[in-house]
Amino acid sequence: MDFFKIIDQLSEVDADVLGRFNSRRAVFGSLGTAAKRSALAATPLFLGALFQKAYAGTAATGVEVLQYALALELFEQDFYAKVKASSPYANASAADKAAIDQIKKHEDSHVTLLRGAISGLGATPVTGVTFKAAVFAGLTTFKSGAAATTQLGIAQLLEDTGVRAYKGRAGELLGTDLLTVALQIHSVEARHAAKIRDMRGQRAWVNPADDLAAHPVYTSGVTAGSTPAAFGLVVPAYTAASPVENNTTQSGVDIKAGLGATYTASDAAAAFDEYLQVAEVLDNSRAGGLIGA
């Protein structure tokens, strides 16, 4: 079996195949010792594993998840762009401005990164996902005033929702390098959420003592049947609402009393962030109500 001949034949029908392997040398470098290479390279098992690796996450589902992530990043990017252009931001402290600038920089990077990844998989990246101007116009203060009507109050809801949104689709990228990238963005969003909360005088994590704790984003599960605005995205079917943020049972384990020690409901809930499914993120009670022209 001539390994390179197979690759060459494959590249005739799939011009990108060589790009999917890091490089020919890397492929063989991963095989270990020279002795193993000649033996392994000729086996169908090896070829199968190699192609599975090259194509893992590049199936339709990978693109869908990336498009979903890109839509949310575009949404956040536009929100922070609007914040930076506003007068409340202009009057904010230098430290708060610097934090917003750093967050915006990351959202820009995420947009660029995800666009590139989607294009690289042969799809056209989504565009035109913006924060509704009419809603933004109502955010007249940076952080003082009623929480959910200030710019940072909305930022907190957006960042916490973003963290939950990435969790909700991670499983579809199981075992792929795309998952690693998604996780690396996910934890950055969590850092943003913590900082925004800190700027607002809230705890870094979601907890019942928040001034926004009673907001539907944290308290309401959305059940199937809602009609999310889906900008050309595939919305996976689901039958049960995701846990809300005061959940104290994880993986069937009662965190308050099932661990051999007693923990308060507040600590049990705060120790885990929850996930959200696509329809829930895009529901009108969450991002769906803020997306638009």
Partner: protein, 251 residues
């Protein structure tokens, strides 16, 4: 990691000694004979030898030829890996939470009390999940060790906390793709974002504005750090008495 986080006065030989069994091993090879016979028997022999040599370990905590405790393979390995890190974090914060007030400011002290609870929950949760799903392969309780001045002043406490939290985030980010069971991935994701929130907050205490600074979040890609389990253990090992082997995690 800064110099003050390196362990001082650790005595490698004293804690590793019980795990090495030179006499037993030598006598085993004497019985096994020469060349072909010996090499054929090495694998089986090592495994058995190690179990005999470490009766204090619960079943499943097999020891590699170097005397390290293997975290195991597959999803169990990933869960044990996370359990090891959470044991370390929980121990650190429990010691911080027990310090007399005054070393940290009032709000910091209150904050650490809560984080200590989160990390204790994470540790206890992994133990419960492993006991349920992989009975007999649960990593044993580890013995953390710290540089002498770790708990004596605010600067050292915050520096250690920052190092642990950033390392924890990178560890979960790097180990995620090794997980094969979706439910475990969800749980890991539910925990890592809480660790990232801790990390961001601690960073603000150390240096205001550094919650996601360019030294931890890549300035170009906007991606947080990620590290392989073996790379993470090399760093965490400085704070754990037992020698750990993460080479089979996720495999």
């Amino acid at each position: 990691m800064s110099d003050n986080l390196q362990p001082r006065g650790s005595d490698d030989t004293s804690f590793a000694q019980p795990l090495y069994t030179p006499i037993k091993r030598r006598s085993f090879f004497m019985y096994a004979g020469a060349t072909a016979g010996a090499s054929a028997l090495v694998l089986a022999g090592c495994s058995k030898d190690s179990n005999n040599a470490t009766p204090s370990l619960p079943a499943g905590n097999s020891v590699t030829s170097s005397g390290a405790i293997s975290l195991g393979s597959g999803d169990v390995g990933v869960l044990n890996f996370a359990y090891a890190l959470e044991q370390l974090e929980a121990d650190f914060y429990s010691k911080v939470a027990a310090l007399p007030q005054g070393i940290l400011t009032g709000s910091e002290y209150a904050y650490f009390q809560e984080v200590a609870k989160h990390e204790a929950i994470h540790r206890d949760f992994f133990k419960a999940a492993l006991t349920r799903d992989a009975s007999g392969q649960v990593l044993r309780g580890l013995t953390p060790k710290y540089p002498a001045a770790t708990f004596t002043d605010r600067t050292n406490i915050l520096a250690t906390a920052k190092a642990f939290e950033d390392l924890g985030v990178a560890a979960y980010n790097g180990a995620g793709k090794l997980i094969k069971t979706p439910a475990y991935l969800v749980i890991a994701g539910q925990i890592v974002s809480v660790e990232a929130r801790h990390a961001a907050y601690i960073r603000e205490l150390v240096t205001p504005g550094s919650f996601a600074a360019d030294d931890i979040v890549n300035a170009t890609s906007g991606l947080d750090d990620q590290k392989s389990p073996t790379d993470v253990i090399v760093i965490a090992q400085n704070f754990i008495t037992e020698k750990l082997d993460a080479s089979t995690v996720g495999k």
